[in-house]
């Protein structure tokens, strides 16, 4: 059990302070893997809430509180003439106490796999009702802990070495933890104007598939070093996120991973600068690893991504496009970094060139399959994402291409896509895609590519990693989010 205080300052009279990231950080630092984090407000005018961090909704909540317990409505608590032992600075805040009664002063958030268990749209708020003030919450973390990374190092800060010159970490430290720690460490040292938006994006989640591929591939060669692999994996994740920030501006996306995009929240100018900063920082971190083949591999992938982005936007004029154009764009836009993640991890561990190339092909095929599965998510009502977003944004999407080619629904799909896409049109196109065999075809094709990816690895000695790579390939295509 760990007991702490979470301190913060508020700046408004009523303010919803999103403390989700601070709680995540506490969980991360503590090494809590499975358990609970309990929170208790230490004030009678600070409440707690779990809800969506959407600025207009927060204004709705404020309005609701104002309607239910209006300020200045003649509260008896504010009649100082009738009260005893009041402080000289006693505020007029009967409304704030009443509002707190409508909220809660206690809450518990579950923790699994070292992270808060929250729904896609959920954030944890401390709700200031009588600010601005300095506030604190009592927090307790209990459950199963693993040692923090600092305690796993020897007294001289060394990590144990294996006989072969590689590095060995206690099995309790999972690869994923190393990447998260490295990301946290890197984002801690950057200037706030760039670090804060990137931290928001990185901490909002993401599948971390690319770092996982780096770390798995880095176990194949004789020079496996988990710390160097984590450094490369984190740099590639930063690079991926940098490209997403620019993509979101180009696509005029308002949300990513359930949160406002950097462009939507901070403006296009800031989004461009943040993307550039992490593009440069990631390439520097990779260069500093000191393996020229790794640096070139990732640089080539980045160039392919940027070229494909240009093709992607150009093809929107011929929306929904065709299968060949789709594959060409996806190979660059998505698969290039999957392939580079696999190849660079293997290169870092000085794996056999045959294995490096097999992994590169595995990553390429897996990347295409992953993108196809991602396209299908746009038509899944259970994904947690708004259905039809790709249609609305005229993003290249294989189910749409197949539906547009379909003998029965194709003419109507093409007619609708050629016009203005309002809510009714997007809904109708979604219905038509679902009613055709387009999703079935895309699913079959994605699974076929995942199996082809696995066949690339058949002749490679994978030192026990095969089941993990098989599971990863299959889970990348069989998902609904």
């Amino acid at each position: 059990m760990i007991a702490k205080r979470l301190r913060f300052k508020t700046s408004g009279t009523t303010q919803f302070v999103d403390i989700t990231e601070q709680l995540r950080e506490e969980v991360r630092r503590s090494g809590l893997r499975v358990g609970r984090i309990h929170l208790q407000s230490l004030h009678t005018t600070v409440g707690l809430a779990v809800n969506e961090n959407e600025p207009l909704l927060l204004r709705d909540f404020e309005s609701l509180l104002e309607r239910l317990a209006p300020s200045g409505a003649g509260y008896e608590h504010d009649d100082f003439a009738r009260r005893f032992d009041i402080a000289v600075d006693e505020p007029v805040n009967g409304h704030a106490h009443c509002r707190q009664l409508l909220l809660t002063g206690f809450t518990t958030v579950l923790v699994e796999e070292g992270d808060l268990v929250l729904g896609r749209w959920q954030s944890v708020f401390a709700v200031e009702l009588d600010g601005p003030r300095s506030r604190q919450l009592a927090i307790q973390l209990d459950g199963e802990f693993v040692p923090a990374i600092s305690s796993l190092r020897g007294t001289r800060g060394e990590v144990a070495r294996s006989a072969g010159g590689g590095h060995v970490l206690p099995s309790a430290v999972r690869d994923k933890d190393l990447v998260e720690l490295e990301l946290t460490r890197q984002l801690m040292v950057d200037p706030d104007p760039v670090a804060v938006p990137m931290r928001r994006l990185v901490e909002a989640g993401g599948k971390r598939l690319r770092p996982r591929l780096v770390q798995l591939s880095a176990q194949i060669g004789p020079k496996h070093n988990p710390l160097r692999a984590a450094a490369l994996a984190a740099a590639i994740e930063l690079l991926h996120n940098a490209t997403l920030i620019h993509d979101d501006y180009v696509d005029e996306s308002t949300h990513r991973r359930g949160r406002p995009t950097v462009a939507a929240m901070e403006g296009a100018e800031r989004a461009i600068a943040v993307g550039d900063f992490y593009f440069a920082k990631a390439t520097r971190l990779i260069a500093e690893i000191g393996n020229g083949d790794v640096t070139s591999t990732v640089a080539e992938a980045l160039e392919a991504i940027c070229a494909s982005q240009i093709d992607d936007v150009a093809l929107r004029g011929a929306f929904p496009g065709d299968h060949d154009s789709y594959l060409k764009v996806v190979r660059g836009k998505t698969a290039a970094l999957f392939a580079a993640s696999c190849a660079s991890g293997a290169l870092l561990s000085e794996a056999d060139p045959v294995a490096v190339e097999a992994l590169r092909r595995y990553g390429d095929l897996l990347g295409v399959a992953f993108q196809m599965a991602d396209d299908m998510v746009d038509f899944s009502p259970s994904s947690g994402k708004p259905v039809g977003l790709d249609i609305r944004q005229r993003v290249l999407s294989l189910p749409l291409i197949y539906a547009a080619e379909d003998r029965e629904v194709g003419p109507e799909v093409r007619r609708l896509l050629a016009g203005t896409l309002g809510d009714a049109e997007v809904e109708r196109v979604t219905e038509l895609v679902r009613s055709s065999d387009a999703l079935q075809r895309v699913g079959d094709e994605a699974r076929g590519l995942a199996e082809a990816a696995l066949r690339e690895l058949e002749a490679v000695e994978l030192d026990g990693l095969r089941p993990t790579l098989v599971g990863l390939a299959r889970s990348a295509v069989d998902r609904n989010s």
Partner: protein
Amino acid sequence: MTAQALVIGRELDRLDGLWEDGLSDTYRSYLDVVDSYDDAVQPKLALAAALIEAGIRLQGLGGRAAPAAALLMGDLCLARASRLLADHASQDLQVAFARAIEEMSAAAASGTGGRPVRDLLVGAFESGR
């Protein structure tokens, strides 16, 4: 066509329009800066620097945000420069260039006027030597 022109031509795929639009002049001005580097890599390094300068201008970094198409072209310039540096520059020079872009973009994000891009890149050539 000179050997140098051939080398550069291969690196201008999708960017030929920029060459006519000032990139060639920027490239030539960087050739003077890289004369202490190996002869074989001088064109590549000068082109990398020129592409960074062009890319940042296209993106509108530090000024008004560029429209989507220009931003993507700017991204491609930066990516091409990064690959040229990965393939032809020392580790020190790669790091110096990356730090220069970090400085420019951090200044842009904070809304403070940073040092001119040319100064930063010339400084990177000096420190990465």
